[in-house]
């Protein structure tokens, strides 16, 4: 079969979600590695660390103290990349000069939050049970809801859903402006620039539509128009569920798949099987399915190389504010981008060729999915106890 040839030859795969290509060189993992080794992450953290600014009761950078919180805890980032208020910058009019044509800037305001996943300093998403992860999902949902444009069709859904605002204290959730997009993400592990091992994620909310979700939204809208209202990711989930070869895990509502177009060696996308525009479209039962999918992916990651598997992950969903068409075309999904390739200490570098020319990967997504399928079950750390 011509498809199997793709395990042996160099080829490019198309990512319809971004409208971009990735170079796949399956034979290339054979090369010897004498380069940088990551230090394997220590798994010997204590449940509470008095020097951690995220643990319950402790003081943060700017002097405020954290409450003795139960599940999750949300606060405005003490070093926000964007702020709600700042000096005004007026974009100069295009006046035909080189400067207005080639030196273009626009102001960005917004709000940045930090969300801890658990009061325990040493419990990552891989350690938490689906029921515990539900608190995280509820917190994300309530923050998303608090920032939704009142004119969005999703605002009504949110009102009906009535998510308990666990962890998110309403006093901090009062955006000064209507923002365009909310990016919820987690950097896990020192290899991914995380500077505090207490499990936490971030939320950056901005007046502008950022590049990546902007590109995806354009592609989703285009697909919907071209395919008579069909949804790209719903169709993709259906297709992958039939094929199975790239599926890592599935339950009745979600699919965890190494996408056909994956860039990172063990990249995974968690995608809802039917069309869900955003977190607020999920009911309690579907939130449990999502929690289970997150638990399954993160546990398999840690089991793969028996380490705290580093990654960046993030949610893509409907913009807070946008046209009806944009909101309808949106499809809730989570990307996991982990850097490790061969072992707990050897990562894949996306450097020279990847930065200057095109992303390149060394193993096929099918090979990655097979390996992740094979390491389900209990977390390796529990077995060692």
């Amino acid at each position: 079969m011509s498809k199997e040839i793709l395990n042996d030859i160099s080829h490019r795969r198309y990512n319809p979600l971004r409208g971009s290509w990735v170079l796949v060189s399956p034979h290339r993992t054979n090369r010897p590695w004498q380069g940088q080794q990551e230090s394997p992450s220590k798994t010997t953290l204590s449940e509470y660390d008095e020097s951690c600014y995220l643990c319950p009761g402790n003081k943060r950078a700017q002097g405020e103290s954290n409450p003795e919180y139960g599940n999750t805890f949300v606060f405005v980032n003490d070093y926000s990349a964007v702020k709600e208020e700042q000096a005004e910058y007026k974009v100069p009019d295009q006046d035909g000069t080189l400067a207005t044509r080639l030196l273009r800037a626009e102001p960005v305001t917004g709000k940045c939050y930090v969300v801890t996943f658990s009061p325990s300093h040493n419990l990552t998403l891989a350690d938490l049970s689906p029921t515990q992860i539900i608190s995280v999902i509820e917190t994300w949902t309530s923050i998303y809801t608090a920032h939704l444009s009142p004119t969005s069709p999703l605002a009504k859904v949110a009102e009906a859903t009535k998510i308990p605002p666990s962890g998110a204290h309403s006093s901090i959730l009062s955006p000064k402006e209507q923002y365009r997009y909310m990016q919820i993400f987690e950097n896990k592990g020192a290899a991914m620039g995380c500077s505090n091992p207490h499990p936490h994620g971030q939320i950056w909310t901005t007046t502008g539509m950022p590049e990546e979700p902007g590109m995806e939204l354009e592609q989703l809208v285009k697909y919907r128009r071209e395919q008579g209202g069909a949804n790209l990711l719903e169709e993709y989930a259906t297709l992958e569920a039939t094929k199975q070869e790239r599926v890592v895990f599935e339950n009745k509502d979600f699919l965890a798949v190494c996408p056909w177009w994956a860039v990172w060696p063990f990249e995974v996308m968690v995608v809802s099987k039917v069309h869900k525009r955003a977190l607020v479209d999920l009911n309690a039962d579907e939130r449990l399915s999502l929690a289970e999918s997150i638990a399954e992916v993160t546990r398999r990651y840690d089991n793969l190389f028996q380490t705290q598997f580093p990654y960046s992950m993030g949610l893509h969903q409907a913009p807070l504010d946008g046209s009806k068409e944009e909101i309808e075309a949106s499809h809730f999904h989570i990307h996991f981008y982990p850097p490790l390739l061969r072992s707990a200490t050897v990562r894949k570098f996306l450097v020279g060729y990847e930065m200057l020319a095109e992303p390149q990967r060394d193993i096929t997504p099918e090979q990655a999915a097979a390996r992740l399928r094979d390491c389900g079950g209990e977390l390796y750390r529990k077995k060692l106890e």
Copy 2:
């Protein structure tokens, strides 16, 4: 002046060369850093290392021996990401099924070379004199020339130029097919995935047009059409030469600038002041100017944090094969993407928000340029000797 406000507020800057945006948060470097530290690179390499597969006379992975070469040395990568010959893969016809619509692949063939910069195991571009760097530029030029389409307007220029094929043995430079693009690049330092400290670069040549130069080419063609034949990068170089605030170094032919839209903290673009489509458009005098610019940038990098400054760098120029319009719109330039931000050991991570939403930077390009302007002069290592 409203322009100075950009030193204090969050804003986005537009990159007309890619058609994309970058988020700038100048206030953000104030945050404390408890995250990953890079090990500062050792500068105590010897001139010759018997275990190095790039040193003259030594054996390579597949058993071949390197000649006792003088300046540069070129060989076909023993672990090429793309190969000249492989099993055939026929792209299936679009037949209206989900599979042909969403699981698209195309075969890629090509040729990958390794180019050493000097016989000395311990001499990086920052250590070499402009005259020594000319050998590297001549080698790049002769490899590029050997792969040019005979129908390209550049092929005639190349014939007239007659670059000496230094380092590139004609026996290895016989491509089996006409390739579309040649990416010349260097990964320097363990932090950039480089697995051998012997100074060297790579060249990957492919049948397909890779994403990054493809995006740039589209933007360059568009600009030329919209601006009545004007060249985007020539106009940009003119503008920056007038403003000076982002200029790191210039000579009569080239400008080294921290671009308005830079993503990496100390990103630099070396761009020709007048319209040059590719390496073959440079005469001997201009090659010396380019060598001097490369020497100036790499030396300043090392001086900045008194370390072997890691980076990925790469040349963008006209495709080997393409339409007349594409070749005319191309403008020769080099991108330097270095990861360090604060010191020899603290880098900028482009992770969660950057991967999922939009590239984000913490210092302005103007601040970066000022610091690089201030660390010219002799290489710090020489002063310590």
